[in-house]
Structures are given as C-alpha cells and as structure tokens.
Amino acid sequence: MSTAGGLAKRSHQENWLPILELAIQEVFEIMLGCQVKPMAPSEHKANAEFTAMVGLAGALCGIMTVCCDANTARQIATCMLRDETSSEEHAADALGEICNMITGNFKNKLAGTDEQCMLSVPSVISGGKHTFRSLADGNSIETALLFEGEPVFVRLQLHS
C-alpha cells in the first residue's frame, strides 16, 4: 500500500488527517472486508476497554493508538478470522495487528518518512478502568470511525 512519492510531506501535518483516514479505511476494507465511515469524535463517548499502541521512532516519533470497547474488538477479530468464536485473546491480538497495519500504511504514504521511521511491535491494554496517557508532547491527529455501527478511535500523538 505504499504510495509512490508519498502523499504528504513531514512539514505539512495539517494535511495528515485525510491520509490517516485513508490508511484506516484501506486496512479495514482489505483485511476485514468492511467499510468504515469517519464520524465526529464527539458523536460517541470513548469506551476504551481495549487500547492498542504502536510506537514510531526516527523521522516520525510518537505513538499511534487504536481504542474501542470489548465487543467491537471481538467483532474486529471475528471479521479478520471469519470465525464466530473469537476470544478475548484474539480480540487483543487483532486490535494490535490493526494498529500495526494502520501505522505502517500511514507512514508508507508520507513522503520521506517511510525510509527513516521504525515501528515497534504492538502492545494492547485491556480492561475498562484504564487511562492511556502518552508523554509525546507534540501535535496529535485524531479521528473516529464507525465500524459495524460502533466507534473506533485512532490517534497519532507526536513528539515535538
């Protein structure tokens, strides 16, 4: 899914939101066979029972997070596996891999970033009582999408 020449430059962060949304839509369409629709984050309250994260280092430094409720995470795993018996372990695994692919797909679309940016392996936190705080102190890009009628929140928090 790398785009020849990239779609945006590092200095043009104001243009990154549509690129992030495109990266998300491609991952859901190709790997889950599902369309996701962007929505206003304020339309739904975040119920982050699962938070997946992937760190970025190098030309792009920060953290990508994908969060949703437990039922949505299980539904994502079910769609990926084409299996009705997805476990909580599968839900966490699937959400981590979704976050990984969104991050990779997004950075592959940024001109000059792809060659100089490394990704961490994904980590996933589960449980209804957690709060995620990133120490990244730069800009953040955030979007929310509806998957099977439920919100999935994606955020890229950058170091300055």
Partner: protein, 128 residues
C-alpha cells in the same frame, strides 16, 4: 498442484491464520502448516520440520524476521526453500535488506489473497 508444507512466522496468531487462509484462497493445497511466533521459534521449528515455503513477518519480538532470514542462510538450514516476507514495513531499505539476506519475495500488509497468489505461486513453480 502438489500439497505443500508451509512455515508461517508472525507474532500475531490472528495474522498467522489470515496468511494460512490466503494461501488456501490462492489455490495452494496445504499438507501441513507449522506456526512460529518469532524468528527464534521458527529456527527451532526448522530443526524438526521439513517445509516447502516460509512466510515471515519482520517486526517481531525475540528475533525479528530479517535476523531470521540471515540465520537461515548462515546456518544453512532450509536450503532452497523460498522465504517471503509479509510485513507492514514498506520501505525500499527493508525490501533491499530482506532480499539481500535471502528472502525471495516481499508482501506489504495490508494484503489481499491475490497479492499472496501473485508473489507465492511463481516461487512454487506455478503461474499466478
């Protein structure tokens, strides 16, 4: 097509299942699928399993996919067995590193079954 034995290396169990399903959707009949969660587990699996094809992620804990490919070449196991990287790392430098280390193909995630077919079948001597 003869049935093949495949080693699928990825730290995500969900992704290992998707890769296996993509192989089957490509028309490849699988006699056996061996799974490993990282390069170290994959090297151990190759000590006790003969395989015809290896599909390997890059970003994995313990031993990453590039180091696994280098180790396969250094140790001299699985000689002649095609290794295809399946990874989110899409940069040219990663592709060059993987191919230089001995990988024969490179598929970027997210991927379709058609992309698996296109990259894997020629390595098995078949037309995609």
């Amino acid at each position: 097509m003869d049935k093949i034995r495949a080693l699928i290396v990825d730290d995500s169990s969900v992704m290992r299942k998707i890769v296996e399903r993509s192989l089957r959707q490509s028309g490849i009949e699988l006699e056996k699928v061996v799974e490993a969660a990282n390069g170290s587990e994959a090297l151990a699996a190759l000590q006790s399993n003969v395989v015809d094809l290896i599909l390997c992620d890059i970003n994995m804990p313990v031993m990453d996919g590039l180091e696994f490919v280098r180790q396969v070449a250094t140790i001299g196991i699985a000689k002649g067995v095609p290794i295809v990287m399946i990874t989110t790392e899409g940069s040219e430098s990663h592709v060059v590193q993987a191919l230089s280390a001995g990988a024969r193909g490179y598929i970027r995630k997210p991927f379709t079954p058609d992309q698996v077919k296109e990259h894997v079948l020629p390595l098995l001597g078949k037309k995609p």
